[in-house]
Symmetry: C2
Subunit: 290 residues, 2 copies
């Protein structure tokens, strides 16, 4: 589940976690930007609706992305592990210029896709430059460490969050969604403090983090992205807390970022919106990473 | 926390999770083999006793490894995150030919070492050929995904295990220890089925898995290593189970392996003891991986 090794001549594709409940009928800023990053009028988008149990989910997204001008859109009707062996689905991912993971249940995604050729192909295509977006459960699954569930609460406590392995497009972050709407700060703080290596991203509804190949993301949408950086923790009671006990965590750093803000995941630094900056680096442009 | 990139000219060092309670006074097969892999009479071993709250732990291991013939042994008295910035400790790890993580509490290890230069150095030294061993909590922390806690039970259930990010020497496996002694099959099955990519290793007391640079491990000790391979799962109720509910998991593969057995983590295949095989590949020998 390690992120696939990058081809040195290619920039990694964008990784775009969305907090769920994104606007699908008005401006559609997030979906529109995803289609542009996938090639616009030349885009070939593959939707993976596996997180959802609704039969209509795949078709609904087909319509959305076609209406936004994508040349080709199709979905993979994967509902069990055996479906992941279908060579036609792997071929479709090989041709895709954008991949979209719908909402639903992230454990459905990890238990059905985990360890299959489909999961491996998504990682490899992203490493080769293909944009991968996911909303709600589809956002959670993107990182190596995934929030599978937990309490609604604003303060951290031992056992407040349950983790599971995700699909592993990146291991720099751990992602939570419907963040402000469902009062999930406590579980994100708990997750980040388990191992302060991880940067926690709490993404509101109708909001996305467009993570570029240079490890810098920009916020797009009507809500905020909350970044939890626990790397400066000076004291944590995590290891000695009993189950459900409130935690002491000293030295946490938090940034709450609205549209246009940027965050450098390598340098762990937030930047306010800059009117003069280009929106984001184009996916096919070669980028020098640190 | 991704395993550090391997230098193509060097073989990775052995990764040696031990199930706790290993023999420290009689034959000491496991510690003896670790000292040999670290250079025997030339070994320079650094002990990290951070998981333990006992002040004597570091000194106890110093004595054990000196008695087994190591040239140099010392321990890093790290008990809080600020200690990890000490440049002397990083220098000691740079000189080390073997690193040993003691038992105690694995969340103490992840919350104190996670995201620090010490954790990064351990990964890089292992990638450069240095053997890293850990017992009990020190075994759990070694992999990318770590079992932080859970119930004693032989059957899997939603919520039976809690995961946290480990130190990330490998992301192929998830490790449990004191395995048979504390009846932990249920939590290992639960952990492996969260994402069937992971291979579960349940390691008994006084038993170790010597994972070589070629991804093959050999069992050493008086107990067994239980390997859980969930990659062939045909059905899992994980994603729809409520908390504590018993799980249906169809198609699990389990191997219970005594001393001398080998397991290929790449091919996911177990081999019985072979009298004619060399004990294990030498760490400085260049190995071709698949």
């Amino acid at each position: 589940m390690c992120p696939a090794r990058l081809n040195q001549d290619l920039a990694r594709g964008f990784i775009i976690p969305i907090g769920g409940g994104e606007d699908r009928v008005k401006e559609q800023h997030i979906h529109r930007r995803f289609v542009e990053l996938s090639g616009g009028g030349d885009a070939d988008i593959v939707v993976i609706p596996t997180a959802s149990e609704l039969e209509t989910t795949g078709r609904d997204y087909n319509r959305i992305f076609r209406d936004l001008g994508a040349a080709e859109v199709d979905f993979l009707p994967i509902s069990r592990r055996a479906d992941c062996d279908n060579p036609r689905y792997l071929d479709m991912l090989d041709r895709a210029t954008g991949i979209f993971l719908t909402g639903g249940n992230q454990l459905r995604l990890s238990t059905i896709l985990g360890g299959t050729g489909i999961a491996q192909k998504i990682r490899r295509r992203n490493a080769a430059g293909v944009a991968v977006a996911g909303t709600s459960a589809g956002a959670s699954i993107m990182s190596e460490h995934m929030i599978a569930g937990g309490d609604s609460n604003s303060s951290p406590a031992e056992g407040r969050v349950s983790l599971a392995p995700g699909i592993g497009l990146t291991n720099a972050v751990i992602i939570d969604q419907h963040f402000t709407e469902r009062n999930r700060l406590g579980r994100l703080l708990t997750a980040s403090s388990y191992n302060p290596f991880l940067i926690g991203l709490g993404i509101d509804e109708d909001t996305a983090a467009f993570i570029g190949p240079d490890g810098v993301f920009e916020v797009v949408g009507s809500g905020t992205v909350t970044v939890v950086d626990a790397s400066g923790l000076t004291h944590s009671s995590m290891w000695e807390a009993s189950r459900g006990e409130a935690l002491t965590l000293l030295g946490l750093k938090i940034d709450v970022m609205g549209e246009g803000c940027r965050y450098d995941l390598v340098g762990r630094h937030a930047y306010p919106p800059d009117e003069h900056a280009a929106f984001c680096t184009l996916p096919n442009e070669k980028v020098t990473t640190n």
